[in-house]
């Protein structure tokens, strides 16, 4: 964090990772990984990496992505769950970092695509571009596996860790917008196909 002598914040340096390339790398050979995505660009990134029934995309419910992930992880302790979301959603659901750490979910990992922007609404700077560090917040909430990735080499190393550890990862991505790649947005459809993929009856 940078403050001048008057206590005025100057924005952090932006991240440089290409978000589409980073997400494609994380989701390469997804196997039976269960994925929950936060509204806006993270849902588009995961959709662009390849739509599959084990992806549950949020188009709203801002702040809730990590908790949906916890619900799945507790319901299916035999499976790995990955939450892929943005800094705005994670900031709105900051309390869920405390809830998840307290609950303990060894099969749940969170990757935050952090561009320090509210991309859907005109790229206004978010708190992570100004003063907040989500990795430090997670540490303060009791997470013990935490990392920040700034290069594609670091993203590649994340791929396996996110499928093995209860990891909280921040990916410092570039603020540039990418073309929208829209996943299905009917929540009932997404729900039914996700449950079917887990072998749950939807009669």
């Amino acid at each position: 964090m940078n403050r001048n002598n008057d206590g005025i914040l100057t924005p952090r340096n932006d991240g440089t990772l290409d978000r589409r390339a980073a997400v494609a790398a994380l989701l390469r050979d997804p196997g039976d990984l269960l994925v929950v995505t936060g509204l806006g660009a993270p849902s588009y990134d995961v959709s662009a990496a390849g739509d599959r029934p084990q992806n549950f995309y949020l188009w709203g419910a801002m702040g809730g992505t990590a908790m949906v992930g916890l619900g799945i992880a507790l319901a299916r302790k035999d499976r790995r769950v990955l939450v892929l979301t943005g800094d705005g959603d994670m900031l709105m659901g900051m309390g869920s970092l405390a809830t998840i750490a307290a609950a303990g979910a060894p099969n749940l990992a969170i990757a935050v695509l952090d561009n320090g922007r509210y991309g859907e609404t005109g790229a206004q700077r978010s708190h992570t571009a100004l003063a907040a560090d989500l990795a430090e917040i997670a540490a303060g909430c009791g997470w013990s596996h935490i990392t920040t990735a700034r290069s594609m080499a670091e993203v590649e190393a994340l791929r396996d860790r996110l499928r093995r550890e209860p990891l909280f990862a921040v990916l410092r991505i570039a603020p540039e917008e990418q073309p929208r790649h829209l996943p299905p947005r009917d929540g009932a459809h997404l729900t039914h196909r996700f449950r079917r993929a887990l072998g749950i009856g939807t009669d």
Partner: protein
Amino acid sequence: MSPRPWQAEVYAALKTAGIGLIGYVPDAGHAHLIEAAHADPAMDAVVLTTEEEGIALAAGAWLGGVRAVLLMQSSGVGNCINMLSLPVNSRMPFFTLVTMRGEWAEFNPWQVPMGTATPAVLTAAGVHVRRADRPDDAAEMVAASAALAFDSEVPVAVLFSQRLIGAKVFTKPEPSPRTSGGTSEGAAPKVTP
């Protein structure tokens, strides 16, 4: 403090309904359910920082094939509204038990606005609202409402009236020669911290 019989019956009704996960923001009126959930090896119990987390938690549990319930106080209902778009839009069940404040012998005026608004706000957000007023039908109301939620896959809230739970006591009443005995179930509040 040992639970009153209806509180034990409500926990049994949740078990019969197949609930496997309880998310809660603590409330004295839910204290027995919370203790019972933590003591039950077949139940996951998750303490939340805010009630809306419980909506998303329950949605995730449903995606994974587990039935969840959210325990909260009426003051927490207002925190939930946008998150209710998740079960409503995804045509998922959602089940919550809400202990009411601000409606019966309430001492704390800050509880009154949200307590008054709770049924209308839930209804406006698409939640079916039921109410338990008497100890002898609380468990049956929970059982029937859980069936509605999970069989018809709709959001349902059961409001436990403040008279049923007992008003929270903030100060011990001054002994007064003009006050006679005569208490009903709800007018005999248990002392809560």
